[in-house]
Symmetry: C3
Subunit: 145 residues, 3 copies
């Protein structure tokens, strides 16, 4: 049963808003707790990559199964559950950004905002959301009208 | 006198950006402090619902008085002022999401990102912002051009 | 060498997403640490203004050198690195909002969400991002298609 009442994505025209994904895999939180306390940077990068993989799964659904329809990644939002004195927030979120760039090349390059937060859903270590532009005139899933 | 220099909403075409609303009611902060320290989950849900009611008041204004013009809620951003070990952030923000879904049905279903933050304006317990799509060719309030 | 893999802006049609800018100046973090611990409100306002200046430099680039092409500031996101009991988050972010309003007049008025976070990239005191609408049919930099 979902713990929250929202959709994994919503689309208006060519713009897809992807809901924030935590570093969850097969139903379990893969990395729990704070970077700088419970985990190091390398683990944070892995956690961010898992968030990005989850976003890609939803994005594929938003594209009716074909990531070829991805035109651009407009924006990534990265949230790191970390100690109040942790400074390497951008390096953690690179775990997500690098995956988008590897996969989509120039189309995957994006603007980004990354911050360190007090806590995340289910105590997850990282959460990432994104806004994509897609070419999906032929699909209506999650479409606003 | 407002404490900050910004608008309650800004519109470009059919897209309305609603500024973040705290759990303020009749000029006073209804719930102050942190979930997991000063308040429990049930109070957090009430606080999130108040944020959503404030968003609806602004959205009505953005629709020239008629919420019938609401096409879709694209995205909700939820910020919970909470203890660093608090995990039920999504459940708190459901207080806002549920209201949008009750009121607008399928049109109210949205993507969402919810995080726990260190603090919020005026020490409020919850803050929520949103992006809506509206059918408002006939209105120009807050329009970009 | 950049610490993170992302673009300073990305544009789709008339909408420009500006990546989050910290209070960095000439390569150094101008204000480091937390408001309410290491710095007072006045310093926070200065830090937010620096973030806004950095955003303007990127926005100018997104407009092919001419800020006259700015149609509207749709949304500002403000993140304050602060103590968990700090309440004047909006007043800090006014340092950015006021600059946009001074420079662009009514075009610079925006919706906004401001929150207090656990930490920021490189330990910066403030980070601000923004979404602008621009009139730039003649430029293709950062364009989605």
């Amino acid at each position: 049963m979902p713990i929250a009442n929202f959709l994994p994505f919503r689309r208006n025209g060519d713009t897809v808003f992807l809901a924030g994904q935590i570093c969850e895999w097969n139903g379990a939180v893969a990395y729990h707790g704070k970077i700088g306390v419970d985990h190091d940077l390398a683990t944070g990068v892995k956690a961010a990559r898992i968030c990005a993989l989850n976003l890609l799964a939803v994005l594929r659904e938003a594209c009716d199964g074909s990531l070829d329809r991805v035109v651009a990644c407009m924006r990534v939002g990265g949230f790191v559950n970390c100690a109040p004195d942790y400074e390497n927030v951008p390096q953690v979120i690179n775990g997500a950004s690098d995956l988008f760039c590897e996969l989509f090349g120039e189309r995957g390059s994006h603007s980004r905002t990354a911050v360190g937060v007090a806590t995340l859903p289910r105590g997850a270590t990282v959460e990432v959301d994104a806004i994509f532009v897609v070419d999906c005139d032929r699909t209506s899933r999650g479409k606003a009208r």
